[in-house]
């Protein structure tokens, strides 16, 4: 059963949001290009923007309730920590207003490795520290559902990956369902088991991440260079899967990162060679050819030049081997 069922409708100065979707208990990515209405949808869901429609959370209709009674927690793009309080007081603020919360601020702070920051004014914290304090604060308030509006948008590469790992670990530890806004397909694939795709205020695809990511409606939202498939890290040797706690949900494998061979390849440095059968070939607007390969675990996409397709005599139902360099993903 879906934990969250929502149909939100609002007209904001000509921009119309009319989005119906469901989200299960895991992590759901809300994906869409800039201007699709992702942040607006999140604000409407949390009750921060007036809207028509309905929001059912855990079987309870919260759509007409004010924001503070809905049960949603939210982490914003900017941390929005209260500047007149220390980091610890920010956590205590959330805890005092969540009487049933079993998450003690000290425990959550320890989990996020921010115990040493608690006495500091929030103005003295770095961007990464602020993000972690904001996430800890949201969890301390023990929400029924946590909404995250691109909380790592302001973080650079390494800090961004570290924050995603922390977020995944927090989800495993505290079991709070999450809806995470992202316009980065890598971030979305790393975090989510479920996907809701938004375009111009409407949901164009939704469902389990890997299957939804393969739909033409979703692929049409991607930058041509990002077209690819989601696959579980365990399917690849040598991909980021050293520690179970840090393992991402999925990896986004771009079609550009996949080579095809018509014979079992030998003497290659690549560790990942996956056998499959060609399902379809389609010509892209840039002249390249997208080859869809059905494998035992998950379909893969490979982008080839028309010359390569011709020389290899690729066609439907032909057997081929996909070669993936693990470090590319």
């Amino acid at each position: 059963m879906s934990l969250l069922q929502a149909h939100l409708r609002l007209d904001q100065g000509g921009f119309v949001l009319d989005a119906a979707f469901t989200a299960p208990a895991g992590i759901t990515a809300l994906f869409g290009p800039s201007g699709a209405g992702k942040s607006t949808l999140l604000s409407a869901l949390a009750g921060l923007k007036r809207n028509a429609g309905s929001v059912m959370l855990n079987g309870r209709d919260v759509g007409r309730l004010p924001a503070h009674q809905r049960g949603f927690g939210m982490v914003f793009q900017e941390a929005r920590l209260f500047p007149h309080l220390t980091a610890g007081q920010n956590l205590a603020y959330a805890h005092r207003r969540a009487p049933g919360s079993k998450l003690a601020p000290a425990d959550v702070a320890s989990f996020f490795d921010i115990s040493g920051l608690l006495h500091r004014p929030v103005g003295n914290l770095s961007g990464g520290e602020k993000s972690r304090v904001a996430l800890a604060r949201a969890l301390v308030s023990a929400p029924d559902f946590l909404l995250l509006d691109e909380p790592f948008a302001a973080l650079d590469g390494p800090r961004r990956r570290a924050f995603i790992e922390v977020l995944l670990a927090a989800h495993r530890q505290f079991r709070i369902p999450m809806l995470v806004v992202s316009h980065s397909i890598d971030d979305a694939a790393a975090l989510a088991s479920h996907l809701v795709a938004l375009k111009a205020g409407r949901v164009v695809a939704q469902g389990a991440f890997a299957a939804t990511a393969l739909t033409p409606e979703f692929q049409a939202l991607l930058d041509p260079r990002d077209i690819g498939t989601a696959l579980a890290p365990r399917l690849l040797q040598g991909a980021r899967q050293n520690e179970a706690q840090k393992e991402p949900q999925g990896l986004w494998l771009r079609a550009d990162q996949v080579l095809l061979a018509t014979q079992p390849p030998q003497y290659l440095s690549a560790r990942n060679i996956i056998e499959g059968q060609i399902e379809a070939l389609s010509e892209e607007v840039d002249g390249s050819v997208l080859v869809r390969l059905a494998t035992e675990a998950t379909p893969l996409l490979a982008r080839l030049t028309p010359d390569a397709v011709r020389e290899l005599q690729l066609g439907q139902r032909k057997t081929a081997w996909a070669v993936i360099k693990a470090h590319a993903v």
């Binding site: 604000s43 949390a46 009750g47 921060l48 004010p66 924001a67 503070h68 009674q69 949603f72 927690g73 939210m74 914003f76 900017e78 929005r80 920590l81 209260f82 500047p83 007149h84 603020y93 959330a94 207003r97 969540a98 004014p121 103005g123 003295n124 604060r137 949201a138 308030s141 929400p143 909404l147």
Partner: protein
């Protein structure tokens, strides 16, 4: 300072202090509503709040007399229910002063509320803080330095209120005769210029102390609040 001057100064402080205590809660509430773009009738409320700034002070005093005098609709009720007279009393002088300094107080506090990041209220709302809770826990502390500065400035300005006070509360030594009223009184007497000058210097010193204190308190409060 002579005993008479001390009495004038203490009357001025008593009037200004009462005016501030009486008007501050109302000023905070109205300034908060005026700072919210969603407040219905904001323009009308804004206009009414600023009327004392535009109307002649004597007219404000006269309107107060009509409302709060013994025969006025509010004054008669106050006398009947609580036995309270406002006209020609220290409390009345404080009321007239409060009305006149009210726009100044509201403007300062409103600026402080408007400078607060509205997104923090959203952050508080999703942490289960209701509207009153958000006002007390976020809006008030963050506007604190502005409220303190506005209060001190309004207090200093209250010491100089003349027209409305003399009209509504008269010029009674020891009760309603504040610094400007005392200056006016001595200027009516032949050779009163020297005494008027002494009182003028006192007014100047009080006003300057108020302005410097406002700035100092605002800086200190901001530093304490925001680090």
């Amino acid at each position: 300072m002579s005993p008479a001057e001390i009495e004038i100064l203490s009357t001025s402080f008593a009037v200004a202090w009462r005016a501030l205590v009486f008007s501050l809660p109302f000023a905070i509430a109205i300034a908060f509503f005026l700072s919210r773009p969603s407040t219905p009738g904001r323009l009308i409320l804004d206009g009414i709040t600023h009327l004392p700034l535009i109307l002649p002070p004597v007219l404000v005093g006269f309107l107060l007399l009509m409302m709060f005098g013994r025969r006025g609709p509010v004054g008669a009720l106050l006398e009947q229910w609580f036995g309270v007279h406002l006209a020609f009393t220290t409390a009345g002088a404080a009321l007239a002063t409060a009305v006149m300094s009210f726009p100044l107080l509201v403007r300062s506090i409103r600026l402080a509320f408007e400078a607060t990041d509205l997104r923090l209220f959203e952050a508080a709302a999703v942490l289960r803080a209701g509207p009153w809770d958000r006002f007390v826990s976020i809006a008030l502390p963050l506007a604190g330095p502005g409220i303190v500065a506005g209060a001190v400035t309004a207090f200093a300005a209250s010491m100089g209120e003349f027209g409305a006070v003399i009209t509504f509360a008269a010029n009674i030594p020891g009760q309603t005769q504040t610094l400007p009223l005392a200056i006016y009184t001595v200027l009516q007497q032949p050779g009163g210029e020297a005494e008027a000058t002494r009182l003028a210097v006192m007014s100047f010193v009080v006003a300057m102390l108020g302005l410097v204190a406002a700035e100092f308190l605002q800086r200190r409060a901001r530093k304490r609040l925001l680090g």
